[in-house]
Amino acid sequence: MMRRTRTGLTVELIEEISHEKGEPKWMLERRLRSLRIFEKLPMPRFGPDLSEVDFADISYYLRTVEPVQNWDELPEEIRRTFEELGLPEAERKALAGLGAQVDSEVVYRSILQEVRAQGVIFEPMEEALRNHPELVRAHFMKVIPPEDNKFAALHGAVWSGGTFVWVPEGVEVEIPLQAYFRMQTQGVGQFEHTLIVAEPGSSVHYIEGCSAPRYTRVALHSGMVEIVAKEGAHVRFTTIQNWSRNVYNLNNKRAIAYAGAAVDWVSGSLGSKVTMLYPSTILAGKGAKTENLSFSFSRDGQWLDLGARALHFAPDTSSRLVSRSVVQGKAKSVFRGKLYVAPEARGAKGHVECSTLLLSPEAETETIPTLDVRNDEVEVGHEATVGRVSWEQLFYLMSRGLDEAEAMSLIVNGFVSPILREIPFEYAVELRRLLEMSFAEAIG
């Protein structure tokens, strides 16, 4: 349990962070308020064991964290994976925290030019705070207030880095926006804050993370994503997470969708020691929609505690929460699918579907659906299945010349394909390679 006496988090530290960043006074006040809330709130009362998270021992301001100096510091497993994926040198370095990536910098600039011409704001959070203080102020931590949970409050106190996206009315951003390394290195992605505001009738797809393993020495990652989709806007948010196995990855992600808006969450979780992630959508206006597609691959020693929530507060809203979890070795995978339908949300439709594929006898899984429906004029459904790879299937594929690892990864790929299909091509290809490698290792 966390120590009651002195944590490494102090008013002075927060003041220092805020001062250093040259923040407006209101932001400092919000940070300090979050700190007070953090101190009062209890640790989450469900899910994985977080007793090893020592708040006193975390460097909150990453400027002070030494970057990795050389290859030898990287875990052997990660170095091998980089090699097998055939990543270019520059990219490996960036992923290892060894330096910024030159190529992506160039891509980033050209994309930036293109979207800025459409009037889109796509900036590091710190810059946005300077350049567009009123816009940021109006939305920052309004979808997820610090009172929501202990890690939201922590984030509110110490956030650093991240991205701000604002899409003007009616503008459709064609290319998916990605947080390039330039942005990520600013906060080394520990407490980064991503805020996306889509004005009425606009659309945007944002991609975060990457499928190649990402090494960090920092043991706690607690980012936040807030999305505001105004009337008729469409926002899609894709995350691929493959943190190194020392990381506690405890994120908050939530969207609010106004009338006729659509928000899609697509999440792939591979890495970390412990992950808690439950992207949520508040369906606030008539006819708002959300899709929440999640896949996870847990291996030895991991506990991936995932979920999805749809909160229906308006009539004719709809939601579809789909998850595919694969568990290998002695790992644990949990999926919490929650549907809340308010009394005024007549004509709401919601569907939760979770399937798990167990690859080993020691693998553990739990699906925890919560359907809280407060009116009669709704259509809600829930399905959950747990299965194992059958010998029959495996032998069938092998009888056509696929070796066991190939056959296994094809079956697993097939199982997660409803989600993988929704992931941009380059990522999906790399994910496939990762799965294959993992089976090749397990089978030997």
Binding site: Y396, M398, S399, D403, A407, L410, I411, G414
Partner: protein
């Protein structure tokens, strides 16, 4: 020359002995029929030759083009040119037939462009154009599954094809297609072991030899007329 040779094969499944010393050999470019009552061990023999780990070879050997493959894992047997058409092909969700076959073909050293051509041609030949982009056997009808097996054989062009009841549950037109597909394969050199209950398919495809399996043993081996004899008199006469 015999391209596949099975010698005194004794096989058990889950501790129960199913094959009690089966010997047979298959010749290049010829069709061989394997008949026998339900439960006599026909599928067991096919699985054992293909290397299914659940079918334990207690004794006996399997030779493929002169090489002892008794201990070779199933995927390597396939890569050498052994094919098993399943009696009950399993469904594999999320895996597309094309994608799967492309991987299989690549493992069998089939160049990609050659695969594309073969695949298109095979789909057309078997009237399966609508199934080409579907998931592997998922929701296929019984007859469609049988055609899917034959399609896979056509694309992979094996040296030896063990076809477990390719004619069960298929309509007349499909039967004719399947038979002529098998005949073509044989003509191009494939040795075929055709497991069947019905002499009808053999009308299209006269076998060089008919083997009768009963209680895990080959009890008779003769020319094509044997199939008709069985049809008339049942298995009693050969026991």
């Amino acid at each position: 020359m015999a391209i596949l040779e099975v010698k005194d094969l004794v096989v058990s499944v889950e501790g129960k002995r199913i094959l009690n010393g089966v010997s047979l050999s298959l010749e290049e470019g010829k069709v061989h029929a394997l008949m026998g009552p339900n439960g006599s061990g026909k599928s067991t023999l096919a699985f054992a030759i293909a290397g299914h780990p659940g079918y334990v070879i207690e004794s006996g050997r399997i030779f493929f083009v002169g090489e002892d493959i008794t201990e070779v894992p199933p995927h390597e047997r396939a890569r050498k040119g052994l094919f098993l058409g399943f009696q009950y092909p399993p469904e594999v969700e999320g895996v597309r037939l094309r994608e799967f076959l492309r991987l299989a073909a690549a493992n069998c050293q089939e160049p990609f462009c050659e695969f594309q051509k073969l695949y298109r041609e095979a789909l057309e030949y078997l009237h399966m154009e609508d199934l080409g982009e579907r998931e592997l056997n998922v929701g296929f009808s019984g007859g469609e599954k049988k055609r899917s097996e034959l399609l896979q054989m056509r694309v992979l062009r094996p040296k030896v094809a063990l076809l477990d009841e390719p004619d069960s549950g298929v309509d007349v037109d499909a039967l004719r297609l399947i038979a002529s597909g098998i005949e073509e394969a044989a003509r191009s050199g494939t040795a075929v072991l055709l497991i069947t209950h019905y002499p009808r398919i053999l009308e299209y495809l006269p076998p060089a030899k008919v083997f009768i399996l009963d209680e895990g043993r080959v009890v008779k081996e003769d020319g094509p007329e044997l199939a008709w004899e069985i049809e008339r008199t049942g298995y009693e006469a050969v026991r």
